[in-house]
């Protein structure tokens, strides 16, 4: 009988090969995810560049956004996007933060088990449905009571609906931030005789402030990128005149893209209309990427602290 050597204890070549092959498959998959990013950047960059190099400066500063007539006033869309997102944040931040504080500091575990899944269900409401809600309820049943001559399609309703959509996102990120605050801080505050409300406002919230900021930034980025709500409730047409009033309709970066996209081969009129779609995409991509980058950086700083 020969003694065992290292060769006998090695895994059979077939099993080893299978293991190595699987590793390559997994590696290819992760390279594919990077490929998706590269494809996005490549597609929008090339067409956006065509637009940027062919458009004339005077076309970018006109009375509004009329792509088929060669008027690409970016400020109209940017201002509308900003207005709607700010309205959205006015709705979403108080409710989202309050839900997060309530869930993390006050709610009984049983209440929590009901509210948390409900918020998740809220997050899954499709944006087209919220758009329909905006024109069938928010404008006619709520806003028209306060503003008599409000337009049926208006930025205010769009902003409120987008805000409702963003609540669960802000609530979920903020709650994670609040729960990351060590229990010892709360116990120390209570031990010094602080009331619950003092502990929450003076100790827990300041400790989690960077996470809460991140939640707001990510929420803002989501609000800017929201398309269908705005397209249905405010920017139905593919053109919009520059107007600062929230009671009037107006297209945003995203709704202008959707409008250009209805039957993409029908984009007629000005040659640059089709390319402007990609230019807007590039703009939107850069804005949201920048916001998310800041948000992620803030979250990382928070994670390192505790």
């Amino acid at each position: 009988m020969t003694p065992l050597n290292a060769e006998d204890l090695r895994t059979a070549p077939g099993r080893r090969a299978r293991s190595a092959g699987a590793r390559w498959l997994f590696l290819f998959a992760s390279i594919a995810t990077i490929g998706v990013s590269c494809l996005i950047v490549w597609t929008i960059a090339s067409e956006a560049w065509t637009f940027a190099s062919q458009v004339e400066g005077s076309q970018l500063q006109t009375i509004g956004w009329f792509p088929r007539r060669g008027m690409f006033d970016l400020s109209t869309l940017l201002v509308n996007s900003a207005q709607i997102s700010v309205v959205a944040m006015l709705v979403a931040v108080p409710s989202g933060l309050a839900a997060a504080v309530y869930l993390s500091e006050y709610a009984h575990p049983k209440t929590r088990r009901v509210i948390k899944p409900t918020l998740e269900l809220l997050a899954s409401v499709p944006s087209v449905v919220l758009g329909v809600f905006a024109i069938s309820f928010i404008t006619p049943a709520v806003l028209s009571r306060f503003f008599e001559d409000i337009n049926f399609f208006n930025k205010l309703a769009a902003g409120i609906a987008v805000g409702l959509l963003v609540i669960p996102l802000i609530a979920s990120i903020s709650e994670d931030a609040l729960r990351a605050v060590p229990m010892a801080l709360r116990e120390a505050a209570s031990g010094l005789g602080a009331r619950k409300v003092t502990t929450t406002l003076r100790v827990v919230l300041p400790a989690a402030v960077s996470g809460l900021m991140a939640a707001i930034i990510v929420g803002f980025s989501r609000a800017i990128g929201e398309t269908m709500v705005v397209t249905i409730a405010s920017g139905g047409g593919d053109t919009s005149l520059f107007d600062l009033s929230l009671q009037e309709s107006g297209g945003t970066i995203t709704s202008a893209m959707a409008a250009l996209g209805f039957g993409t081969d029908q984009v007629a009129g000005n040659d640059l209309a089709f390319q402007s779609l990609y230019f807007l995409g590039a703009l939107l991509f850069l804005i949201t990427l920048g916001l998310n980058f800041i948000g992620n950086a803030v979250v990382r700083r928070m994670q390192e602290r505790y």
Partner: protein, 312 residues
Amino acid sequence: MSLLSNPAQIAQRATDSLQLKRRNDVWGTTFKVCLFALTAFAILFLAVLIGVMVVDGWPVLSNRLSVFLSQGFSQRSAGDAGVWQGIIGSLQIALTTAIFAVPIGVATAVYLVEYAEGSRFARVVELNIRNLAGVPSIVYGLLGLTVFVKTLSGLTQGKTVLAGGMTLAAMVLPIVVITSVEALKAVPSGIREAAYGVGATKWEVVAHQVLPASMSTILTGTVLSLARALGEAAPLILVGAATGFLSFGDANFMETFTGPFTALPVLIFNFARQPGEDWSANAAAASVIILVLILMINGTAIYWRNRLEKKW
């Protein structure tokens, strides 16, 4: 005020002050009530939303539900319009999305957690995934239009379910990866070590131990992300979902994968754009149908996730 001279007195004072404080803590109570009210606002809104949709869609839901569910889309009259093609299109798109997004997403997660944890490559992939997760859905529509509809037209035949599904697959890929990574990380390392200890190869550890142990969490995460794809309209509009009249002709089920298509949310958008009471009733009724579909899928997934949450 008398001097506190014995323990009983001190205890009495302490109890008094506690009770006094609780009664007088107006600010604390107000704060708590405000928090609860704002939280309730979010929950209440979901109820109002569902209520408004049901009420507005009631003429359609009560009178011609079966016709509405089985009829194709017609732009000529609101009374004939149905959502059948939208439902079929949405289910086909969800299926295509799953076929592309799940294998790539789970495989990426396995590579990140099991093979490359902490490496520079893993950090790059993770950063990339996080950034992709923040890209607005309509930008994925541009990707779909250029790459899947035009460049890959040999494979997808242009504006088809296949192109739409692949676009949404790219969109949900980051969510699938993120939820799968969390599921894999939750598997305790003792399970891996035990498998290595009895001589399993890396592939056997992954395929026989880690994946089965995390499968339920991965599946519920995947279902949640597919539900998101089901409700998405913006990228499909850019990819060219039919927004007008759509005829399947006598195409069989497989052929509809490579023909013109539409989807439920796109139909809702379309109904909402038409003027008139009848069309808004259609939009509300279709919204009820998609809400029921999505809330059912998500409710089941969330319920199972909470039940299956393993305490290792």
